[in-house]
């Protein structure tokens, strides 16, 4: 009898509360596409202000209408009364999908051997079934740049959306070659090199990079003139950067390295973005002058030097923004990319303001990645990559109730949630 009651109860839930599908024994929840009408929401468009009591229609993966009192027709209705809709958040620097368990070399696919491996494709190594992906996307982070690391040119980063069964399905349409600018800074307390040695080593590394660069330039000129070229994938990939087909993402953090990098890129006509930029606050005006976009973060990290004011990592983004730098944020995380809204929230609190912080993880990122035609804001014609929350998504207590990626309704579950459901009120407790 009891079982029957529970069953009927679950059945009722099943019929009227699709969010709870995951709680039914044996039920497998998959993302699915339909025509969804989100009704009566507060819509944070990002680019066109905040719209109250507004409906948003999702068809064929796109936002096809935004307005008041849209006709319900045969759409799947999603009541958003009292709730807010935001474009999916974009993390502009992660290794999500490239590593499963951080300490296990067998699961680390973000680093190749050698200093010169620009042709290595992060997208090829993304595991669409990484446990961290559903853990991330239920937070409203729908899109991330996932990137290789190590060496001078560790590989090619890819923008991916966090839904899909193959890397191609996850491909969000942007790639960039990553470069680590050689540092003339003393790295950590165990770096015992003299100031002179450090500078000499950095100079030497930059020379090596310049040699590589010249080689790539020769390769490109031979290619452009239709000359015979041997298979040389490193140069092939770099030549695309030189030809302006692929942007270059330059990781650089110490203030004087940033200045050196500015000088280095100035001589070249490159499509370039600076990443990291931890000490950007020291040279913000120079960065602004250069018009080079910056991806900075993590925000929740220590200041880079013992002498720094305690909050420089929190305020860096605000200082850069106020100087006029175009800015996006990153967590530089793999399993905790879900914390992106909190990094943005800290940046907001420490001087950036909520509106700009929101832009830094939506439209600014989309523009830097040249996908602003389809991502980064809620506008008709853009991809239906968005989420519904019961409040300010930067606030920890806010709950994200539904995520859509490219029009797919994403199951609001993951391993963390399933463990919670199983163990909150465990059976077989110890006897008293």
């Amino acid at each position: 009898m009891m079982k029957k009651i529970i069953f009927s109860f679950l059945l009722i839930l099943f019929l009227f509360k699709p969010e709870l599908y995951a709680q039914i024994d044996g039920e497998v929840v998959k993302p699915y596409k339909a025509e969804f009408l989100l009704q009566n929401a507060r819509v944070y468009t990002i680019t066109q202000g905040v719209l109250e009591n507004t409906d948003l229609l999702i068809k064929d993966g796109k936002i096809t209408a935004i307005g008041q009192n849209l006709a319900p027709q045969n759409y799947t209705l999603v009541d958003c009364s009292g709730k807010s809709v935001y474009p999916g958040f974009i993390d502009s620097g992660t290794s999500l999908g490239l590593v499963e368990v951080n300490s296990l070399a067998e699961t680390q696919d973000y680093m190749e051997l050698g200093k010169l491996t620009p042709q290595m494709q992060a997208l090829s190594a993304v595991n669409p079934n990484a446990v961290a992906i559903p853990v991330t996307r239920v937070s409203g982070v729908t899109t991330v740049l996932t990137q290789p690391r190590g060496g001078y040119f560790p590989g090619t980063a890819s923008l991916i959306q966090l839904n899909g069964y193959t890397p191609d399905q996850m491909d969000a349409g942007f790639k960039a070659v990553v470069m680590n600018f050689p540092s003339a800074a003393k790295s950590g307390e165990y770096d015992n090199r003299s100031e002179e040695t450090i500078r000499k080593e950095a100079d030497k590394k930059l020379e090596e990079i310049n040699d590589i660069w010249e080689k790539a330039a020769s390769y490109l000129s031979i290619k452009e003139k239709g000359g015979q070229l041997k298979y040389y994938p490193e140069m092939e990939q770099l030549s695309r950067v030189l030809a302006g087909e692929l942007p270059l993402f330059v990781e650089v953090n110490a203030a004087k390295d940033i200045l050196a990098a500015l000088e280095w890129v100035e001589e070249k006509s490159l499509d370039v973005v600076f990443t990291g930029v931890a000490e950007g606050w020291k040279v913000a005006d120079k960065l602004a002058e250069s018009k080079i976009p910056v991806i900075t973060g993590p925000v929740l990290t220590l200041p880079s030097r013992a002498s720094d004011k305690y909050d420089v990592s929190y305020t860096n983004a605000a200082v850069l923004h106020k100087a006029g730098v175009k800015l996006a944020l990153r967590t530089q995380d793999s399993e905790n990319v879900r914390n992106l809204p909190f990094h943005a929230g800290f940046a907001a609190a420490y001087g950036m303001g909520v509106e700009e912080a929101l832009k830094s993880i939506t439209i600014n990122a989309a523009e830097i990645f040249r996908v602003d035609e389809k991502l980064g804001s809620l506008e008709v014609g853009k991809n239906a990559t968005l989420f519904i929350a019961d409040g300010d998504p930067f606030e920890p207590k806010t709950q994200v109730s539904q995520v859509f990626i490219d029009g797919y309704r994403i199951p609001m579950t993951n391993r963390h949630i399933r463990l919670y459901q199983e163990f909150l009120d465990r059976e077989m407790k110890p006897a008293n």
Binding site: S187, A278, Y310
Partner: protein
């Protein structure tokens, strides 16, 4: 040139406001008016005054009047909460691990306190006033920890010690001790079976040791004259003190099976003073933790940094709390310790804890786990005046700590916050090192030298 730099360094030290305050008065007076007081044990008191004299909270109420000469602060609209307590930290320690043996209970962290660590100031700027400075996790039974009060500015390590705090000791289960000793040195423990055996052997040896000494002490003067006294061992003395309930165990642990194993061992030896730390799979044995232990001290959301934390959930703190486990959220990191209020707030996203439940995770609950709940962890008359004032509710992402007091002495004030807070500047250092987003937590610091030629970096992670 060098003299100049040296003089500059000295000048910087003398000018530091923090230093002067701390040396003049290690216990302070302050009158905080009209605050939103998050008492923790008695809910939120709106528009309430708090009077602190000689480092102790003397009065809490509205319309209080402070005696003459006591500095006062108008805290209208601001939130006052107890100083945040971190039950697992390695802040202000020169070394972390004495990894030379699976049991090193004789080692004391109080001998390696570094009062110059600028991380202490940064923790204060995040509202954290007390940290539990722990031995690392290399050994099944590690060294004795020390509870610190963040009286930044003193150059005397002893001034940082919270004298009232009871003794605690570090235990560690799972991957770290088995890797350091089993795989690193071919010594037991190599497996979770071995960890249990090492701990049991230690306890048994301690019981024998105690018996030998009890017999010796009970023997008559004549026999004492004729016999050599038993050998003194500070290691076994410490283990005996654990068995006698004088020392609280804080055990680094992750998996449910190993947690359950140590609960059983402790039951068998009559030990009830045990707190499990990290305890990522604590949620699986929450009813057992509730029944047999002093609780669990967890991360808000760390997982997947090593295999034994792959099956974790960010709902851990919520599950533990709702099962009646005394639960705290710790940092194990010089970075996380700067925003434990934010880490506690995450339990509202992951499991919907109330404000009171979430704030207890970083105040009264860690105080209970460290045995200092009589002195700190809530805003109550008679308790020590470790306080932090926020501009907004501390569980909001937009909250910024404004002032932090330890024993009524203000050690942090955002309004008057000089950039460089170092107490010691190396006059020969011409190039200051830069630290970039590395792992800031370090349970496994100082053990790297045990490992070469493994074909794999065993210490890519640090906790």
């Amino acid at each position: 040139m060098q003299t100049k730099i040296l003089l500059l360094g000295l000048w910087m030290i003398c000018c530091s406001k923090v230093v002067c305050q701390a040396q003049n008065a290690s216990k302070g007076d302050i009158f905080i008016k009209n605050a939103q007081v998050l008492t923790i044990t008695n809910g939120l008191l709106e528009n309430t005054d708090v009077l602190v004299q000689d480092g102790i909270i003397r009065q809490i109420g509205s319309g209080l009047r402070a005696p003459d000469g006591i500095p006062s602060i108008d805290a209208t609209g601001k939130y006052l909460m107890p100083g945040i307590i971190d039950a697992h930290s390695h802040l202000a320690l020169e070394v972390i691990n004495e990894a030379s043996s699976p049991i090193t209970a004789e080692v004391k962290m109080e001998d390696v306190i570094d009062p110059f660590d600028v991380s202490i100031y940064r923790a204060l700027a995040g509202g954290t006033t007390i940290s539990h400075a722990m031995h690392g996790s290399a050994n099944a039974i590690g060294g004795q920890n020390i509870t610190l009060k963040h009286r930044y500015g003193t150059r005397d390590p002893d001034q940082l010690i919270m004298k009232e705090a009871p003794r605690t000791i570090k235990f560690a289960l799972g991957e770290n001790p088995t890797r350091v000793h089993g795989r690193g040195k071919n010594l037991q423990p190599r497996s979770r079976m071995g960890v249990e055996a090492v701990i049991r052997n230690g306890f048994e040896e301690a019981l024998q040791y105690k018996k030998v000494w009890d017999d010796w002490n009970a023997s008559g003067n004549d026999s004492k004259k004729q016999q050599i006294p038993p050998v003194y061992s500070s290691r076994l003395e410490t283990l005996v003190a654990i068995l006698e309930g004088e020392i609280i165990i804080h055990c680094h642990s992750y998996r449910a099976d190993e947690i359950y194993m140590l609960i059983q061992v402790c039951q068998e030896y009559g030990i009830d003073k045990i707190v499990f730390s990290h305890v990522n799979e604590g949620f699986k044995v929450a009813p057992e933790l509730a029944k047999y232990t002093m609780g669990a001290s967890v991360f808000a959301d760390w997982w997947a940094y090593k295999f034994e934390v792959y099956y974790s959930t960010a709902y851990n703190a919520a599950i533990l709390t709702k099962n009646g486990v005394v639960t705290s959220i710790n940092s194990d990191s010089d970075e996380l310790i700067r925003h434990l209020y934010h880490e506690a707030a995450k339990t509202q996203r992951y499991g919907g804890l109330t404000d009171d439940e979430a704030l207890a995770l970083i105040t009264i609950n860690p105080a209970k786990q460290l045995g200092i709940a009589e002195q700190v962890g809530s805003i109550e008359v008679g308790k020590q005046a470790d306080l932090v004032l926020f501009d907004k509710h501390p569980l909001s992402i937009y909250a910024i700590p404004q002032m932090t007091w330890v024993d009524g002495v203000k050690y942090f004030d955002r309004e008057n916050d000089a950039a460089d807070q170092r107490l010691k500047v190396d006059p020969e250092e011409t190039l200051e090192p830069i630290f970039l987003h590395t792992e800031h937590h370090n349970c496994m610091r100082d053990v790297d030298f045990y490992f070469t030629g493994f074909g794999r970096n065993l210490f890519g992670h640090r906790h």
